[in-house]
Amino acid sequence: MRVLIGLLALVAVPFLADAMGQPALLSLATRILIYAIAAASLNFILGYGGMVSFGHAAFFGVGAYSVGILFAHAGGDALWGVVPGSTNLLVTLPVAVVLSGTVAGVIGALSLRTNGVQFIMITLAFAQMLFFFFVSLTPYGGEDGIIIRRSNEFLGLNMRDKAVLYFVILGIAVVFFAGLWRVVNSSFGAVLQGIRQNERRMAALGFAPYRYKLYAFVLAGMGVGLAGALMANFLRFASPDMMHWTKSGEFMIMVILGGVGSFFGPVFGAAAFLVLETYLAGWTEHWQLALGVILLVVVLGTKGGIAGLLARLGGRG
């Protein structure tokens, strides 16, 4: 029921923005949806799987660059002479998801051999390596990134229209969250949550934690790759900054603001982060100071983020 109300509110956003004469509201809502997908995929390994990955933005960037590079080759030279470019969302999104999942598979396979502090740092290190790789990728803009002159085509819709793009992204987000819901409540989801609680116990039951964690890591990489591909379509731009380590930090902030391990927490977290960023930045250039203080208070002083707060309020009311 609550989910339905939330969905209706999201559907109403473009009309509200129009009626209020606030087009910026629509763009804010679009970014919230995209970041919600990214943060939810991080929450899947962090909140449900207990893996503190500090390199999640790497796969976000891979997803974005997939769209950018396919665009650059569309209608022109094929990549390496064999891979044709594409500007069709039905092609670019799956490619972005598969590529980011593959990269996550390689990085995860190596990183998951460590744990604790070392895991945090090695995921950060791999993300930095990808960051510098794209910085030095001069054929696709290097440090400046790659411009995508128009959004991908999708079923003949007018993707230049911001409201249309919003609805397409909303639709994809709904499908994503429905899929994530299935995964979290699946046999695999149960094993993953068991591993977070007690890895030694799960091993003693016969589960090899490494394989399950890697599987989850790949799924999460695919999810955030999807978000990256959507972001590239929204911004019509992909750059190394999308995989900067502070971006990984922002994803983590969204997860904790929303509530670690809560299913819809990342939506609230992404919304809270972007609203804070937008409005604090409009109010003072020192908005990061305020964000820092808020983050500190949330981390040190609360349990369960916004989702936890809502649950407590709901419990009382």
Partner: protein, 304 residues
């Protein structure tokens, strides 16, 4: 040949910088079990405070105690107000809380000093060069940094291996619970370790001022490299921080200095520069990944 020696010295100078930061960070990791992303902020605070005092008084030497005092005081306050609450928390909370500290510190510095980079005046005696090899003049100031770094390394070695506090620090890095069980005032030890780390960070920040500008965000640039040093060296190991700091400092410097040139031999110069610098920047991270794959706990992991 002379070019290589010069870059080796540059690498050594960068390496001791990394060591000064990593020494504190590795002890904070190893003994208190806290991931402190804000260590780079202490480095920045030391740099700004020292540079400011040096600018006002016109004396490089008066800037030094100011840098140490500011970094030490900031460290003291941060430990008492934030870090102390993080000992029992998981890594995620530690990462996020100290990430918040970075945001606060950077904007705090902007509020006080503005966004313009500041420069430290160099005292007379450091302004020249000496000929370290025939045909290779090298800035005295950089040699001074190397000397200070090595002195600190010796000092830390004596502190850790020859004193009672050092014994507790060593024991703490290997087995935290044991130190607690010995009835030692663990609070005091933590504050001491954090304060020591802050002082070293402040010292490093102040010394780097005259050769690279003092600006907001300077802490994060070196912070990531410092983390690599700590993890490669092994969490909690001063020896590891020293070996990995110098090693990675030299590798990073040599790659940046020579890789673009090597690539120019095989590709157009503009591409060679961009790709060379990009790949050189990847170098230390690649090394870290390799080390962790062979030794998941680092080269000199305490208690391993």
């Amino acid at each position: 040949m002379i070019l290589i020696v010069e870059q080796l010295l540059n690498g050594l100078q960068y390496g001791v910088m990394l060591f000064l930061l990593a020494a504190g960070l590795t002890l904070i990791f190893g003994i208190m079990g806290v991931i402190n992303l804000a260590h780079g902020s202490l480095f920045m605070v030391g740099a700004y405070a020292g540079t400011y005092v040096a600018g006002v008084t016109g004396s490089f030497w008066l800037g030094l105690p100011a840098a140490l005092l500011a970094a030490g005081m900031t460290g003291f306050v941060v430990e008492a107000v934030v870090i102390r609450r993080l000992y029992a928390r998981d890594h995620l909370d530690q990462v996020l809380a100290t990430f918040a500290l970075i945001l606060i510190a950077n904007q705090g510095i902007v509020l006080v000093f503005g966004r313009q980079p500041v420069f430290t005046p160099l005292p007379e005696i450091f302004s020249g060069s000496v000929e370290v090899l025939p045909g290779l003049p090298y800035p005295i100031y950089r040699l001074f940094i190397i000397a200070v770094g090595l002195l600190v390394a010796v000092g830390l070695y004596l502190l850790i291996n020859r004193t009672r506090v050092g014994m507790l620090v060593r024991a703490g890095a290997t087995n935290r619970d044991m130190v607690r069980a010995l009835g030692v005032d663990i609070r005091g030890l933590y504050t001491l370790v954090f304060g020591l780390g802050a002082l070293l960070a402040g010292l490093a920040g102040y010394m780097i001022g005259p050769i690279s500008s003092v600006q907001v965000g300077m802490g994060e640039q070196i912070l990531l490299a410092t983390f690599v040093v700590v993890v490669v060296g092994g969490v909690g190991s001063i020896k590891g921080a020293f070996v990995a700091g110098i090693g990675l400092g030299v590798v990073d410097t040599l790659l940046r200095a020579f890789l673009p040139g090597v690539l120019r031999g095989v590709m157009p110069p503009s591409d060679a520069d961009a790709i060379g610098l990009g790949v050189a920047s990847m170098g230390i991270y690649l090394l870290m990944a390799l080390v962790l794959l062979v030794r998941p706990r680092g080269l000199f992991a305490a208690g391993a």
